[in-house]
Amino acid sequence: MKNERRVALLRVLDPAHENPGYWERFRAEIMERAAFELARRRELARESVELVLSGWSRSLIPVALAAAVIAAILVSSEAVRDPGAGVPLVLEDVLATDISDEVLETAITGEAHASPVAFMAFVEGNRP
C-alpha cells in the first residue's frame, strides 16, 4: 500500500473527516470550559499590577517625606548656626564704621597690614 493511500485511509480517524466544522466546535467547547479560569487569571493579573503600584507608593512616599523633613532640618539648622553666612565682608563698610584712630593706625602700620583678612580681623576685634 502506497503512502498516499495509507494517509487517505488514516484520515478516516480524523473526526472532521465526515464532520466539517468539528474542530471549530471542539475549540469552542474548550474555550467555554476555560472561560472561568481565564477570567480568574485576568483578575489576578490586574490585582498584581495594583499590588506592585501600591507597594511602590507604600515605600516611596514615606522615604520621600523623610527626605524632605531631613532636608528642611538641615537647611534651618545651617541658617541658625551661621546667620551671616553668604554675606560678604566689604572693606569699605568696615572702614566706614566707628573705628578709633589708634586702632586704624595700628592696623595700617602693624602686622595686620600684611593681608586684607588680617586687617579686617584686627579692626573687628578692636571695635568699641
Binding site: 500500500m1 494517509v7 488514516l10 478516516v12 464532520n19 468539528y22 472561560a35
Partner: protein
C-alpha cells in the same frame, strides 16, 4: 500579520488573554487528539482526554518553564491524562462519535460504515507500539515533519524515522485488504 510564537501565546495566556489561549488550542487540538487516540484508541475518550488536558495545561501554565517548548510539555500532559483515563474508567464498549461536536455528522448508515472502518483502522494501529502510533498519526494525519515530531516528542530525528519506517511497514500489511474503503464518502 506576524504569527505569534508559542512562547508569546503562553505568556499572554498566563495573564488570562483568551485569544492567545484559543490560538494554542487551535494549533494543538488535532495533534493532541492524535496522541490521545494513540494511547486510548477510542474517539470519545480521546476527545475527553484532550479537553481535560487543555484545562490542566491552562491551570498549570506557570509550570511550563520553557514556553518555547510548549508543544512537548503539553503533549506530555495529553499522554499522561490519556493513560489516567484508561486507568480511571473501564472503557465503554463500541466507539461513539462525540455527541456535542458532531451535530453536522453523517447519516446513521454512513456513521455505521465509518465506525466500522475506524474500528478496523484502530485494530491495525493497535498492532503498533504506542510511540509508533503517535508518530505515524502525527506524521500522516497531522502532517508534522520528522524534525517537528523529534523536537516536540523529545527524541532524536533518527529514532522518529525508524519508528515511522516500522510503523508503515506493519500498517502496509495490516491495511492491505482495505483498498476498497479508501476515502469513504
Amino acid at each position: 500579520m506576524r504569527e505569534r510564537s508559542d512562547a508569546e501565546l503562553v505568556t499572554r495566556a498566563r495573564s488570562g488573554h483568551a485569544e492567545s489561549f484559543g490560538e494554542l488550542v487551535r494549533r494543538y487540538q488535532q495533534p493532541a487528539f492524535s496522541i490521545a487516540l494513540s494511547v486510548i484508541g477510542r474517539h470519545q475518550n480521546a476527545e475527553d482526554a484532550v479537553q481535560e488536558s487543555f484545562m490542566v495545561a491552562l491551570q498549570r501554565l506557570e509550570d511550563c518553564r520553557n514556553p518555547d517548548r510548549f508543544a512537548g510539555w503539553f503533549l506530555t500532559i495529553v499522554r499522561n491524562r490519556s493513560r489516567n483515563l484508561i486507568r480511571r474508567e473501564s472503557l465503554r464498549s463500541g466507539d461513539q462519535i462525540p455527541a456535542s461536536a458532531s451535530n453536522a455528522g453523517p447519516s446513521p448508515e454512513k456513521a455505521a460504515s465509518l465506525a466500522e472502518l475506524r474500528e478496523g483502522l484502530q485494530e491495525a494501529l493497535n498492532k503498533l507500539s504506542e510511540v509508533q502510533r503517535e508518530i505515524v498519526l502525527l506524521h500522516d494525519l497531522e502532517g508534522w515533519k520528522h524534525s517537528e515530531i523529534a523536537e516536540r516528542l523529545g527524541m532524536p530525528s533518527g529514532t522518529v524515522r525508524s519508528h515511522l519506517h516500522f510503523a508503515r511497514k506493519a500498517l502496509r500489511v495490516e491495511l492491505s485488504g482495505w483498498r476498497d474503503h479508501l476515502a469513504p464518502s
